[in-house]
Structures are given as C-alpha cells and as structure tokens.
C-alpha cells in the first residue's frame, strides 16, 4: 500500500471520529459545487437557447421590420392621422434590391392577424403574405403537400399553406390538402402543411416571438389584392385604422463578411425615404450583432452566476478551515505524539492537508452528483427552461473544491506543524 493511500485511509479514519461534524463540513462544499454546476447549466442553457434562435435568423441576414410608431413619434409627425400610415413600402423593397448589390436575395413579408375558418371551426392566427423563399429563409419543412411557388405569387392564386396547429384545429379528422379555408371574406385552397416547429420567443425589443405553427402562408400578391393595405379594426368598439404595405423585409447577403459593411448602406437606402426618419416606423435588425451581443452577455451571465455560486464554495472552505482549526486544537496531544515518534513538520502539514482535502474532495464528488442531478429536476419542474451541463463546469467546480480544501486547510495544517512537540505532548 502506497504511502499516500495509507495517509488517505488514516485521514478518513480521523475524520470519521466525528462523523456528524465532518458530514456537516462536507455539506458546505456539496452545496457550493452543486450550485456552481447548476448555475452554469442554467446560464449555459439560456445562452444556447438564445443563440440557437439568433442562428435561426441567420448570421448572413439583415432584417428590416415595420414598427408601429410610438405616441410621441406620431405626435411629432404633426397632427395625428385618422388612419395610421407606417412601415415599409413596396418601393423600399424595390429600392433596396436595385441599390444594394451585396443583397443576394430578399424576402418581403406582410403579416395580418385574421380569423382562420373551416366550416364551424376557427382559430385566431397570423396570415403571412410572402413568396416561395419563405420556407428556405425560415427553415420550414413540409409535412404534406408543397410550399407556395413563384407561379402562385405571379398568378395571384388563392392558395394557402397551413401551420401544424392550424391544421390540427381546423382539420382534425381529414386531409387538408385540396380543401379550403376562409381568411377574411375569401376562400383559399390548402396546398401544403408545414411540419411542427416550436415557437420562438422575442429577441431584444425589436423582433416579436414567432409562432410558426399558428401561421397560414399565402402568396404576397394575393395578400395585397385581398386584404389591401388598410386594416380597420373595430372589434373592441374603438375604431382604429392602419395602413401598412410590408411588415418585414429579410435580406440575405452572400458572405458573412459583407454583413457589417452592408448594414449602413441598407439602412440609408430605407431611412431617408417615406418619412421613416421622422416617423421612426422601421427598425433594422442585424442578427450577427445580436449573436455577438448574446455571446458576450452569455459569458457575462456565466461569470456572474458562477461567481455567486463560487461564494458558497468559499463559505464551504471557511467551514473547512474552522473545523480544521478546531481539530488541530483538539488533537494537539496527538500532534505531540507524532512529533515525538519522528514526524517532521511537513509530515504533520501533509496529514492535516490530506484531511482537509478529503473533506473537500468528498464534498466535491457529492456536489458533482447533486449538481448533475439538479438540472434534471429543474427540467422536470420547469420544462420550458433549458439547462445544459458542460463537462468543463463539472471539472472546474470539482477542481476548485479541492483547491478550496488545500487553500483553507493550509493555515490550520501549518499551525499544527509549527507546534512545539513538548508543549503539544503536555496538552491535556
């Protein structure tokens, strides 16, 4: 049996003399390590989720969105209009396509909230007027049928592609392909159904959450023809009218390196026209910036959460130091005996260091078990919360716990070693 293992075994024996005391000391480290792992898992899960959503927007994309102007912005634009006219125009789209050569392709979108009906069944959803490129831009895949085609748009077809939730609500027992749904006052033939795709939550303040499963896609030209540009809402008894042409233009650039230089050009190509500057009714979103911002924030939040959890580890370390100091005092006579039998100062230091490392190491191992288990409990209790354990957080938390044992055990160990053997032997 090697010297180290024997020291370890004998150290355990000494610690087991006071089982409850050792267990309580270990508990401090257990909670510290578990907190570090769990906190980092929550932080990592959140940041991965955020980044996945941003990646879905596309790092090579630049998005222009129509924004309903705030009250102040409306007021500054002069007398409040009876009909609120705002947002991106078709000519903005044409200008962008004509003046910015780095744009490879662009996707115009018009969104209208409408009731979607099929016989006596209905669902409140979002009608999206768009082109055939939408599925590709938003990584939608088809469950049945097909997505909209270029020809559908050119021919102003009354075709619709349904989201999965719309389909299950309106066509619970039948195949929707070839059937019709009613949007507003017109009927549309269903040509396809998209696969189920989870909703995304809002990003920053600029991009609303997307519920793809509650969408109905129709050709943009059809949307323009059937719904016009003016939306009148008197459902709640209050009359409000809005006039808007496009809700969003998503532009895809050829290369990620073109994103940053192109952003100001794209901004200038829209903002200076149609009073956008004064109305503040458009918003430019550069997902690349958001991704990098999110990465930075994720790193900061990991650091913050990790530091908070690390404080509990340090508190655990102070517990170890406290107990080791008490142990050294209690075992003064034992230290004297060992010194009399030939133990050098470094043997005594080593012995007490091993004991504090056993405390922190056992605490670290149990803490890892608890810290790895905790995210599963969190996932069970809050299914919408994403948690992700990274191996590096487990390794770091364990190593830090052992280092805490060494760091906080060193002072009591040195104190024990420096005792005068004769004084120590006389200690009652």
């Amino acid at each position: 049996m090697g010297r180290f293992w024997r020291s370890l075994k004998l150290g355990m024996k000494s610690l087991l003399l006071h089982k409850l005391r050792s267990a309580l000391t270990v508990l401090g480290i257990v909670f510290g390590v578990a907190a570090v792992i769990a906190m980092l898992a929550v932080s990592e899960g959140f940041s991965r989720d955020q980044q996945e959503r941003l990646q879905a927007l596309g790092a090579v994309n630049i998005i222009y969105r129509s924004v309903k102007p705030s009250e102040e912005a409306q007021a500054s634009g002069g007398r409040p209009a009876r009909i609120l006219n705002y947002g991106l125009k078709y000519d903005d789209y044409d200008r962008l396509m004509a003046s910015v050569p780095t744009i490879k392709k662009a996707l115009p979108i018009r969104e209208v909230r409408k009731e979607i009906r099929r016989l006596n069944r209905s669902i409140d959803g979002r009608v999206v007027g768009t082109t055939h490129m939408y599925a590709d831009f938003n990584k939608l895949s088809m469950d049945r049928g097909r997505f909209l085609s270029e020809a559908d748009n050119e021919h102003f077809e009354n075709y619709a592609v349904l989201g999965s939730e719309v389909t299950s609500k309106l066509f619970p027992y039948e195949d929707p392909i070839g059937q019709s749904v009613k949007l507003g006052s017109d009927y549309y033939t269903v040509v396809g159904v998209t696969k189920k795709r989870g909703s995304t939550s809002a990003i920053g303040g600029s991009l609303a959450g997307q519920e793809y499963d509650k969408d109905v896609y129709i050709p943009l030209n059809t949307c323009r023809l059937r719904f016009g540009e003016r939306l009148i809402d008197n459902r709640s008894g209050q009359f409000s009218a809005e006039e808007t042409q496009l809700s969003q233009i998503t532009m895809q650039l050829g290369d990620i390196r073109e994103v940053r230089p192109s952003a100001p050009i794209i901004e200038a190509a829209v903002r200076r026209f149609n009073n956008h500057d004064t109305k503040k009714d458009v918003d430019l979103i550069v997902p690349l910036d958001l991704i990098q911002e999110a990465e930075r924030l994720a790193w900061q939040s990991s650091l913050l959460l990790g530091s908070i959890a690390a404080i509990s580890l340090i508190v655990g370390g102070i517990g170890i130091m406290n107990i080791m100091l008490a142990t050294v005092t209690e075992r003064t006579r034992e230290i004297g005996i060992r010194r009399a039998l030939g133990a050098k100062q470094r043997d005594i230091t080593e012995q007490f260091l091993i004991e504090s490392m056993v405390l922190s190491g056992v605490g670290g191992l149990l803490g890892v078990a608890l810290g790895v288990g905790l995210p599963f409990v969190i996932r069970y209790l809050f299914p919408e919360m994403k948690v992700m354990i990274t191996p590096i957080s487990v390794i770091v938390a364990f190593c830090v716990s052992v280092l805490v044992g060494v760091g906080f055990g060193l002072y009591p160990a040195r104190r024990a070693a420096q005792m005068d053997p004769i004084e120590a032997l006389r200690h009652e």
């Binding site: 049996m1 005996i337 039998l341 133990a343 004769i422």
Partner: protein, 269 residues
C-alpha cells in the same frame, strides 16, 4: 540520517558534556516608571556531564523542578540544549535542525510515556507501526508488518491487533506503547513515569517486561519519582536543581555486587 555506532556492547552510547538548558519565562515585575522588568531566566539544567553505556538500565530520579524532565526531553531529541554537547553514538545531535532531530527520533529513540500516548483512532497494529511511517519514504515493507506482529506477540497482544486503544486496559495500552517503542529497533528507550498510571500488579508486569528488554541488550533510561520503581534499574542518577547530585548502582545491584564478592571470598577460602 542514521547514527554510526562502533562496537555497541558496553561502549558509551550517550554522552552529555556540560549540558545546560535555560528557559526565558516572560518578564519580571514591572520597574518604577512602568517599563517591563528583565526577562526571567530559569536554569533547568546547570551543566550535566554524564555517560550512558550500551545495555544500561538507568533510572533518573528527582523532585519536581529538579531538571529530570528537561533532561529526558533533551535525551529524546525533543528539545535542543542552550549549550553543551549531546553525543548520541558518534554524532553531536545538539546542533541538528528540526528535521534532522525528527529523523533521529524516528530511527534511534523509543518513547514510553506515562499516559501511554496511543493514537485513539488507530488500531493496535497501526499504532505499533507509526514510528516506521516517519522513516525515509514512509513506505512499509512486509518485513515491517511481520516485525510489528511479532512485537505484538512479544507483549501478549497478538490477538488484539485490530482493537482500538479504548478497547484495551491501561496495562495493555502500555504494552502496545512498549511494542511501538521497539518497532524501529532504537538505540535507547526513554520511559517517562511508565508505570505512573498503573496499579501495582500491572506496574510490576511492565517493569518485568522492561527488565527483560534490558537483559536482551536494550539500553533503557527511565524517569521516575518512585523509589521502588527506580530500584528495578541498575543505575540511579539523582538530580537536584538542574545538576546530578548522585550517580551510582541501585540497591539491587549493590546487593548483587556484595553477593558476588561474598561468593568470590568464599571461593578463595
């Protein structure tokens, strides 16, 4: 570090030359004006010169404060003298540093204490092996383990190897301590009031055991204030106020010597 001994039998094994030890104990009474007085210097040993031979069995006696404990601490390399020489084997250990003194203790000295001083959480076997774990690399060989077992057998505790000190009687604990003091095959065994905590029957058992060890060639130096215990030794050194006031054979040895002379005289007639 090991000590080189020449021919061990009957040779001087320990030589103390004008050994002195002073302790500085705080400060004296405050002087007028509030400043601290001179530090109080206690002269625990005031120049002790004595020699111990290989195979001797010596009792050091004296009243409390006579310097006998200080002398035992110096002999056990637990402390360093203020001045003078302490030659153990052929080396002056008075000038060694803390680590070197520890090495000497682990290799050349065996301790037996009044209150046994076993490590409570260790078994009998682990307690006996303890001095060996502080030698060199601290690795224990199979021979070390065999030696510990045979020492336990010698003191009659072979069946109790896995027992803790708390499961043993005082006499048994002292026997473990004796086995422990022998495990490193020391040059001298230092016994500090080894029977002080024991009843008279157990005490005489322990003394018999020490005598047996001495008969086997071990050098034993014990400190005691009990005259009858001291009489088990062959030589008695009496101390007073830090100096040796008497150094001679014990009553038992004097009696033996007289008997030898009587036998020799009778043989001549």
């Amino acid at each position: 570090m090991s000590i080189a001994f020449g021919n061990r039998l009957g040779k001087p094994i320990v030589r103390l030359v004008d050994l002195r030890k002073q302790y500085v104990m705080g400060h004296g009474p405050k002087k007028k004006g509030g400043s601290d007085g001179q530090p109080v210097v206690v002269h625990a040993l005031r120049g002790v010169t004595v020699e111990f031979l290989q195979g001797e069995y010596v009792a050091i006696m004296g009243a409390s404060g006579s310097g006998k404990s200080t002398m035992l601490n110096l002999l056990g390399c637990l402390d360093r003298p203020t001045s003078g020489q302490y030659i153990l084997g052929e080396q002056d250990v008075a000038v060694l540093d803390d680590d070197e003194l520890s090495e000497i203790r682990s290799q050349s000295i065996g301790f037996i204490f009044q209150s046994y001083n076993l490590i409570q959480q260790y078994t009998v076997m682990e307690n006996i092996l303890l001095p060996l774990t502080y030698q060199g690399t601290g690795e224990l060989s199979d021979e070390d383990l065999d030696r510990a077992v045979s020492l336990a057998q010698m003191v009659g505790l072979a069946e109790r190897l896995d027992h803790r000190p708390s499961q043993l009687s005082g006499g048994q604990q002292q026997r473990v301590a004796i086995a422990r003091s022998l495990v490193n095959d020391p040059y001298i065994i230092l016994a500090d009031e080894a029977t002080g905590n024991l009843d008279s029957i157990t005490a005489s058992e322990i003394m018999a055991m020490l005598e047996k060890l001495n008969d086997a060639g071990k050098t034993i130096i014990m400190v005691t204030h009990e005259d009858d215990i001291a009489q088990h030794a062959k030589r008695i050194i009496r101390m007073k106020d830090g100096v040796v006031v008497e150094d001679g054979l014990s009553a038992r040895m004097l009696e033996n010597e007289r008997e030898d002379r009587r036998v020799a005289a009778a043989a001549r007639h």
